[in-house]
């Protein structure tokens, strides 16, 4: 795929911030957009990310208070009772937007069996969290998603990649959607010229399933968001970005199921 050296230079600084995990949503979206067509920047991001991750080792170690280990073990017992977090075509409830976790639940039921053997109630963990007044799911889901996506990009090396323009009702291109085949597969929508600010649901449709995978917060005209799907990306027919009072923005994917 063709590289535009000017574009690479323009994005070099944002690329560093994607590597550290601190890039703002729109910056991250622009970088991810570019990475899909630029092997050089993808390789550069990989190298910078490794360095950034090593820098984390600098934090001084500190032993936690007594009882830490058992508190963690209680929490995992509780959290698993909430059920597996992967969703998608099977249940039609939409994938990834609820808690954003990128799957990883073992499919063989081993863990669930183990969980049933535990006497600790899920409620304990939930109350513990609420008591501390901490809200987790604000931004890290999106960041983790982008990190997973960054790695998927690298691993897939563009091989299992599909993309399509997003168009408004008049046929003008206003953004892109990107799909990556992986475990799990990803759908990522980037708007560069949205008709109106607001929150757009990213709605993915295959022949037999439709679900919202993320919501895309558009400030001014730009934004980006994505989520995981349980479908093969080549089954995806269409991605819509849906906001109240705005005609849907639609990306139609090429039919590659026969390949």
């Amino acid at each position: 795929m063709a590289n535009d050296p000017n574009r690479c230079a323009e994005l070099a600084e944002s690329l560093a911030e994607v590597a550290t995990g601190a890039a703002s949503g729109p910056d991250r979206a622009r970088v991810l957009d570019h990475l899909s067509e630029c092997d050089d920047c993808r390789a550069e991001l990989e190298r910078l990310s490794r360095v950034a991750d090593e820098v984390l080792l600098l934090a001084p170690s500190h032993e936690p208070p007594a009882g830490f280990e058992s508190a963690v073990l209680e929490r995992i017992a509780g959290s698993d009772d909430a059920g597996p977090e992967g969703t998608g075509p099977d249940d039609g409830s939409g994938a990834g937007s609820d808690d954003g976790h990128a799957g990883g639940e073992p499919a063989d039921g081993t863990r669930r069996h183990w969980v049933r053997g535990l006497v600790l109630a899920a409620a304990a963990a939930v109350i513990g969290l609420a008591g501390a007044g901490i809200v987790w799911q604000t931004t890290s889901d999106e960041r983790e998603l982008a990190e997973g996506y960054r790695k998927t990009l690298d691993i897939a090396d563009g091989q299992y990649f599909s993309a399509a323009p997003v168009r408004d009702a008049s046929g003008e291109q206003v953004g892109h959607v990107f799909l990556y085949q992986g475990e799990p597969s990803w759908v990522f929508a980037v708007l560069g010229d949205a008709p109106a600010p607001g929150v757009y649901d990213v709605r993915v449709a295959t022949d037999d399933w439709t679900g919202d995978v993320a919501s895309c917060d558009v400030e001014a005209k730009t934004g980006g968001a994505g989520g995981t799907i349980n479908a093969d990306i080549y089954q995806v027919r269409e991605v819509r970005l849906v906001a109240p009072d705005t005609p849907p923005l639609i990306a139609t994917l090429p039919d590659r199921s026969g390949e």
Binding site: A22, V51, L56, L58, E69, E105
Partner: protein, 177 residues
């Protein structure tokens, strides 16, 4: 037992593997959480949440991509950043913490890897080292770093990028790559 083996155990729901993994890494995870959020009780919640996520995502861990310790610390950092973003009053003074981390010589608990990174970081101009740490550990955007360092956005962006690129060069040389 290696981290990889423990994570493989965790991916199949082995609580003993999880216990071993927690014991091995809790000081690092809690230490990182504490350095970002600054309050012990909150740091403990953050550290617990990080391990819960590691447990959930153990099946996705890929040893070709990262060491288990850096993978786990990345998760911890993400959780910690969320907390300070929601609860601004918690924030320690990130600049002070970042400067402390760059200037502190090797801590008793630190391992060799970390000395190498610390040494490389000390080679950087201090404003670049601080910018990198603010970005990596505290998740501050270039705009926020510029505000805290009292420099324009463009300067802050350049500090992060230049600092990170130089670190890469130094660390790749010391890796013998």
């Amino acid at each position: 037992m290696s981290d990889e083996a423990l994570l493989a155990g965790m991916a199949t729901g082995d609580a003993d593997a999880m216990a071993g993994f927690v014991r091995r890494h809790q000081a690092r995870v809690y230490g990182l959480a504490l350095s970002v959020v600054g309050v012990p009780a909150v740091a403990e919640e953050v550290a617990q949440e990080a391990f819960v996520r590691a447990w959930r995502h153990a099946g996705n861990y890929d040893p070709r991509r990262a060491q288990a310790s850096t993978w786990l610390l990345t998760i911890t950092r993400n959780v910690a950043i969320d907390v300070v973003r929601v609860r601004r009053e918690l924030a320690t003074d990130p600049v002070a913490v970042a400067e402390m981390m760059t200037t502190a010589a090797s801590d008793g608990d630190r391992v060799e890897d970390c000395d190498r990174v610390a040494a490389a970081l000390r080679e950087l101009p201090s404003e670049q080292a601080t910018a990198v740490l603010l970005s990596v550990h505290f998740g501050l955007t270039a705009r926020e770093i510029g505000e805290r360092q009292g420099v324009p956005l463009g300067t802050a962006k350049t500090r992060i990028r230049t600092g990170l690129s130089r670190l890469r060069t130094m660390l790749e040389v010391s890796h013998g790559e």
